[in-house]
Every structure is written in structure tokens, then in C-alpha cells.
Amino acid sequence: MIRIERRLEQPRWLDVAVPLGSILVAFAVMTVVLLATGHAPGHTFWRLLVTGFGSMFALNSTLVSATPLIFTGLCAAVAFRMQLFNIGGEGQLYMGAILGAAAGIALGNASSFLSVTAMIGAGIVGGAAFALIPGFLRAYLNTNEIITSLMLNYVAALVIDYLIFDSLSYWRDTSTPSAKVFPQGKILPDAATWPVLHVGGLELPFGLVLGVAVAVFIWVLYSRTRFGFEVHVIGDSPRAANYAGMRTRRKILAVMALSGAIAGLGGASQDGDFRHTLDPRGLTAAGYGYAGIVIAALARYNPFSVCLIAFLLGGLQNAGYALQGADFPSGLVGVLQGLILFCVLGGELLLRYRFTFDRRSRRVEAAA
């Protein structure tokens, strides 16, 4: 009989062994899938590695994919630490993108420094303000923030669609007749293009640098400050926090605002670093916010792990794009990516629980 028991202690070596083992299992299952579909497993894995991480071009594309994931991963991690389940990173990112694009368009081509700074500020404000809606509801009406923040994602998606497709809004390009027929966002002025840092052959988007800086900031905030101390106490035991005289409501608002601000910053980075327009189709299809939740869970809410896992996941995504082709359907790429995530997340169970195998104990007859 197999039994699942909670581990009394979590040995340190498991932290390394379990993820590694999970990935091995994932590759074993992937081998079966690939063989069954008539692809050469060895070759496929090699291409996966090379197209994700194996060249300067691959690494640079991976950094581009990782940038939004760092923001949404940190957005989730920051809130989850306090047991505040902000699922709304997706919508908060859209709001950051909307306000960020507005700032970029409004400031024109006057000053690049001014435009970039304003976009950062606008992104932060947009995300934070949108996150404060579930924040207030939770703090003052004790509404479940999972549901409200999730539902607001749909609201944000509809708003961003409306701005480009269903209205003649400030964001929509109406300069040419063809733009009126095929709706698209205004192209941001050159001054609103965020700089790229060149380190060797690597091209670091400014958003990536910001994201890593935010991770450092979060780490300091959460491990070295009174604010972080209170977040930990509230997350672990709200009653103990009340006992210690902590203002739980204010902290809920502050943490929601912080969480939303990070996602909003990610939205502004999408405008300034990569898309240079408000791009509803691209943003809603990418699902960065939801990927961020998975990343935060895998990283166990550690900000540096979030960056690392965002990078790995970004590579996996890129490899997926490169892999798919005439002989390799995109559905199969999805299967492979899903298998890796499934195994790694499933492996987490082994960290907290263990399986014991024992023969079924001798049945005891009822006392006569």
C-alpha cells in the first residue's frame, strides 16, 4: 500500500534533487511522446537547448521573453508572501501598458529621458490603481481577492480591446484610411523607445534591467525592513499580527499596490521596449500574468529565483517558436512545454510530502 505522509523535516538536498529529478522525469515522458509521434528525441532535445540558450541570438531572444515574466512573477510573489492571492497581474499589466502608452504618446518627441521616466511612472500608477480595487475590497469588505482580481483581468482585457478595436480612442491610429479599416494602436514616438544596454554581445532591454532592480529592491524590502517583517507576520498568522499591533488593512493596501505597480511596470516595458504601440492582440495572447503565477510558485516567492525561472521559461518559450515547423506541429510544442511544467510543479509535492510503501498491515480482528 502506498501512503502519502507529510514530511516532518525537509532535508536540504531535496531542494536540489527534486527539481532535477522532476526534469529528468519530464524528459523521459517527452521521449515517449516524441517516439510515438515519430520524431527523434535526441535531436529534438538538442534543438530545444540550442534554440533556447545555445547562441547569442537565442540568448537575446530569451531575455526578451523573460522580461515580462520577471515582472509578473514578482507581482505574484510579492503578494503571495502575505497570503494575498493577487491573480490580477494580467489585468494590472494591461493597465500599465495603457497608461504607459498614453504617457509616451502625449509627451511626443521632446525628451527621451522625460518620456521614459513618465512611462515608468504611468505604468506604475496604472497597475497599482487597478490592483487597489481588489485591495480595498479585501481590506474593508473582506472580499476574496482571488475572485475579484481574476474577474478584473477580463475587465482589463475588454477595456484594452475597446480602446483599439471598438472606439476612436486616443490610443488608436486613425491617421491613414487603411488604419481606419484595420484598427491598430498609434506608433509611439521615437523618444518613447526604451534604451537597450549592450554587454558584450548581449542586448539587455531596459525593462529587464528594471525588473532585476525591482527584484533586488523586493529582496531588501522583504528581508531587511520593518515593512517586510510585518508582511511575513501577517502572512503567517493574522492573529499574531493583530496581537502585535500591526495595521493589517494598510498593509493589504500597500502590498496590493506594490504588486500591481510591478505588473504595471511590466506593461509599460512592453510598450517601450518591444511593441512601441498599444497592442491588445499581442498582450492578451501572451498571458504573461498567468505565467507569472506559475513562476512565483516555482520560485517559492524568492525574488531572485523568480528572475532565474523567468529566464528558463523564456528560453523554453523561444525554443518552442523555433522548433515548430512543417514537420513539428505547434500543438506538440505545447505538449512538451506543458510536460516540463507539469512535472516540475508536481515534483513540489515531494518536497512537502513523502510516499511510503508498506505491505498492508495485518488486519486486526475486532475484540471479542
Binding site: 499574531a240 500591526m246 486486526v364 480482528e365 475484540a367
Partner: protein, 511 residues
């Protein structure tokens, strides 16, 4: 004849500790056998092994001379072993009868359609026979803790348990209720059942048991016939040395000014029903005011209102002549009110956080531990180490999560932290519950010392011996009111017990 229960050479190890180290134990049919020991002596582990919750690393379990291996609690239940836990395992919205058949896979409990009438009749019969009558159709949440305990016993009897284990059953009872529980246990033993009574209270062991087995440090120290023992001899077996009995030592008559005044305070409980109804009391500096009462009669809410954790619906709390902002725990901390809460694990500490973090749970804002918004981590760690050393916290290290400490050692951390806060008023709830004899001595000394130093102590406890030993005055709470205030010199155990049960001095104890 073979013993009803025999445990041979039971060993159970947990990471870092040997909870049971070759324990031998046997109890005969028809006896009440007390299992005595300090906290951490291995009593709970042993009972968990006997009820199939843990599997021993070594040793044998024999029931009526026959070797048994329990793979799960179900096996132990089927073998006729019933357990009444300290924290009840009942479903509050269910009726008594429903709780009784819950999880019973024989007879009624197994049927798809249950016949409540039949079960109710049977429960009523059992209640009558053992003098533990409870209305079978009452919902459990409506019952007092004493009645809930009866339901647990009925549950075991309904399943025809021949061996019944009770883990510190009197912790939630008034002395009168405890007395009637003891009668019930005697009746059960008289019928040939075996009752194993786990306790660390010497007077109870003397009152109810035929024999007593003493555990210390995971080992069996002795098994004795109770009548051959005295409280003093049992205490020294339990602790391993001679103990000075805690006696009331009258302090100097001098008392200071009124330091805490609670006037006409009413408050709601967690369920939104009134928990405090117009409570008034005053506390002078240097005085220990004991608040006695059965758990759940408003004591917790009183402590929470005084410490700012709960907003009163009416009334005021004044400390050092200043009105406390209602429901503001931070203001209470600033006014030098220290609080040792009843629920240590989730209120007194944040269990997953380190001992270091917990040692500054309130003081982290002070300039000693913070520099602007930043924490002085080194100072915090040093403070925790000092606390661990000074209060003799066993198995404690600053980086360890607080939940890894045993109950007694956790309490030392909480007490140490609160004593160190230079309190003017100290609100302590059940400060010695779960502590061993030596630790209780220390806590009592600390409380007395604090009072002598001018602190006003509000001592809330269900342990009447403790209240009598420490208090200058005693207030008795019943259903959210203070029903009496007595001078400690004049009060007797019986008198307080009756008041706790809602009776007047001449009335029958409430059922």
C-alpha cells in the same frame, strides 16, 4: 489473567528526540490507571501509539495477552480502544447523535440511511447509565466544553470501547464537573473496562486512579498502587528531584494606585454573539487579580479588549489614568500593556517565523531593533539568543522556526518577551498550561516578582490552584459577567467552583 493492555519496550524516535525510550506499561481490566508525567515525558506519544496514530520503532503492543499491530487508528478502534483527546474531535453543526455515529463503520453508522431515533435512544441510554446524560438531539456547538467531553466519552462507549484513554480531561472542567467525571470513570472501571487517565495533576491522580505509572524523559520510572503514594512522592518521581510545593506567600500589604480600570465593558465574541456583558474591574499597581472561570465565559474577550485586540461595543478601558483607544493594539502596547495570550501558537507567535523574529514581534519598531525602516538583524539575533539563554528555552536557536519548539518552551519565549517589555500591566492567560513543574515554579516566581515591582497583573486561568496560589483578589466570570469578586484569603476552591458553574453558594452545580 492477562493484562488488558500491555506495552513492552516501546521505542519511538522523532528527528532529534527519542520520545519513548523502551517504555513498559500495563493496565488491568477494571482499573483506572493514571499515566503521569511532565510535558515532553512521552505521555502523548505513548497514547498515540496505543491508538494507532504512530507506529512504534520498536516494541510490542499486547491486548488481553494477544500481540497486535496497528496500521492505522481504524485498527485500534476496531480493537476496542477509545480515546478522548484534549482537543475534541467533534463536528460543531452536527447533533450529538450524529457525532456519535460519525466514522463508525459498524451497524448504524455504515448504513446509507440512518435512523436517528434509534441512535438517539441508544445515546440517551448510555448517558443515563454512566451519568453523563446529554441531549442527543442538541447540536454540538450549543454545548459547553464539559458536555462536549461527555459526547466524546459517549462516542467511545457507543463503539463498545473496552479500553478508554483520556488525555488531560479535566483541563476544561470545573472542580464539580471533574468530580462527576471521576464517578463516571469509576463506573466504567467497575464494569470491567480499562481507563487510562493521562494527567500531570497530582491531586486528580490521587482522586481517581487505582494505580499510577510515572514517565520521565521518555522512560518508565515506576508503576505504583495509588494508595501507596503521596502527592510529594509522585511529584519527585515525575520531576526527578524534590520539589518545593507552590504555596501562597502573602506579599506586603502595600498596593499602589489604580493602574487599570475597566468600566462597563461589553463586547461581541467571534461569532457575533455577546461575549462580555458590562464587565467592570480595577487593578492596582502591585496587585495580582485572578480571573477564574470555565473556558469560554468571556475571559479571552476580556483579555483582548484590555489589550486592544478587540473593540468593545460599550464601556472604556483606562490605563495609568488615560483612556485607551478602543481596538488599537498598538496603543495598548505603547501604554505598556503586555499580554501573554491563551493561544500561544497562533496568537502569541507567528509559528513559521524564526524565534529571532518572534522575540521582537512587538519591539521591532523600537530604535533598539530598527534603524529607520531597516531592521537591525544582528541586534535581533543577539536579543533572541539572550532570551533563549535567560529563560532556559530548550532546543531553541534564533534561526529555528518557532513552531519547532514544544509547548512549554514556546511559552517561555512568549513570557520572556512580554516580561522584557517593561510592562505596567501584564495580562496573562493560562500562563502555565502545558508547562512542567519546574517551569511552572519559574513562571509563578516571575509573576510574583513582577507584581512586587509594581506591575498590575491580570491573571486569567482555568487552573484554580494557580489562581489561589497567586492572586490577591479573585474575580469569577460566568457567561460574560463577573459574578463575584472575592478576597483571595477568604475564598475556597468549592466556592469558586460553584460560582464558575453559574451556581450560588447554596445551589446545585449546573449540569
Amino acid at each position: 489473567m492477562a493484562a488488558a493492555v500491555e506495552l513492552r519496550n516501546i521505542t519511538k524516535r522523532f528527528p532529534g528526540v527519542v520520545a519513548n525510550d523502551g517504555v513498559d506499561f500495563e493496565a488491568a481490566e477494571g482499573e483506572v490507571h493514571a499515566l503521569l508525567g511532565e510535558n515532553g515525558a512521552g505521555k502523548s506519544t505513548l497514547s498515540n501509539i496505543l491508538t494507532g496514530l504512530y507506529h512504534p520503532d520498536d516494541g510490542q503492543i499486547l491486548l488481553y495477552g494477544e500481540r497486535r499491530v496497528f496500521g492505522s487508528p481504524r485498527d485500534a478502534l476496531d480493537a476496542g480502544i477509545g480515546m478522548v483527546h484534549q482537543h475534541f474531535r467533534l463536528v460543531p453543526p452536527f447533533t450529538v447523535a450524529e457525532n456519535v455515529i460519525l466514522g463508525d463503520e459498524r451497524g448504524e453508522g455504515k448504513r446509507f440511511l440512518v435512523h436517528p431515533r434509534h441512535i438517539e435512544r441508544r445515546v440517551a441510554e448510555l448517558g443515563e447509565r454512566y451519568r453523563i446524560a446529554v441531549d442527543p438531539r442538541a447540536r454540538v456547538w450549543q454545548l459547553s466544553l464539559g458536555e462536549q467531553q461527555r459526547v466524546e466519552i459517549l462516542k467511545a462507549l457507543y463503539r463498545e470501547a473496552r479500553i478508554l484513554i483520556l488525555d488531560e480531561p479535566t483541563a476544561v472542567l470545573t472542580p464539580q464537573e471533574a468530580g462527576s467525571l471521576f464517578e463516571t470513570l469509576r463506573v466504567m472501571a467497575h464494569e470491567g473496562r480499562t481507563v487510562i487517565f493521562i494527567s500531570h495533576k497530582l491531586n486528580e491522580v490521587a482522586a481517581v486512579s487505582d494505580r499510577v505509572t510515572v514517565l520521565r524523559g521518555g522512560k518508565t520510572v515506576a508503576t505504583l498502587a495509588t494508595r501507596d503514594t503521596t502527592a510529594r512522592s509522585l511529584a519527585s518521581l515525575m520531576v526527578g528531584r524534590e520539589v518545593a510545593e507552590v504555596e501562597r506567600t502573602p506579599r506586603e500589604e502595600w498596593l499602589g494606585d489604580v493602574i487599570l480600570e475597566v468600566s462597563a465593558v461589553s463586547a461581541l465574541g467571534d461569532r457575533g454573539s455577546p461575549a462580555l456583558r458590562g464587565v467592570s474591574l480595577t487593578l492596582r499597581s502591585g496587585e495580582i487579580l485572578g480571573v477564574a472561570g470555565v473556558a469560554g465565559n468571556g475571559q479571552r474577550e476580556l483579555a483582548e479588549v484590555v489589550t486592544g485586540m478587540r473593540s468593545p461595543t460599550q464601556g472604556t478601558v483606562t490605563i495609568d489614568g488615560k483612556r485607551l483607544r478602543p481596538g488599537d493594539a498598538r496603543a495598548a502596547i505603547r501604554a505598556h500593556i503586555s499580554h501573554v495570550p491563551e493561544d500561544r501558537l497562533h496568537t502569541g507567535v507567528a509559528p513559521s517565523l524564526t524565534i529571532a523574529s518572534n522575540s521582537v514581534l512587538k519591539a521591532y519598531r523600537s530604535s533598539r531593533f530598527a534603524w529607520g525602516p531597516l531592521l537591525r538583524l544582528r541586534a535581533i539575533r543577539a536579543h533572541a539568543s539572550q532570551l533563549i539563554r535567560h529563560y532556559d528555552v530548550r532546543g531553541g536557536a534564533p534561526e529555528l522556526p518557532a513552531r519547532r519548539l514544544s509547548g512549554g518552551n514556546l511559552q517561555k519565549i512568549v513570557l520572556g518577551r512580554e516580561f522584557d517589555g517593561q510592562p505596567h500591566v501584564l495580562v496573562v492567560a493560562s500562563p502555565t498550561r502545558g508547562l512542567d513543574v519546574a517551569a511552572i515554579e519559574t513562571v509563578h516566581t516571575q509573576l510574583r516578582k513582577a507584581a512586587s515591582g509594581g506591575v498590575g497583573v491580570l491573571l486569567i486561568s482555568e487552573d484554580l490552584d494557580e489562581i489561589l496560589a497567586l492572586s490577591d483578589r479573585i474575580a469569577v466570570m460566568y457567561e460574560g459577567e463577573i459574578v463575584a469578586e472575592l478576597d483571595a484569603g477568604a475564598a475556597t476552591l468549592d466556592e469558586i467552583g460553584l460560582l464558575m458553574a453559574g451556581g450560588k453558594a447554596d445551589a446545585e452545580p449546573a449540569p
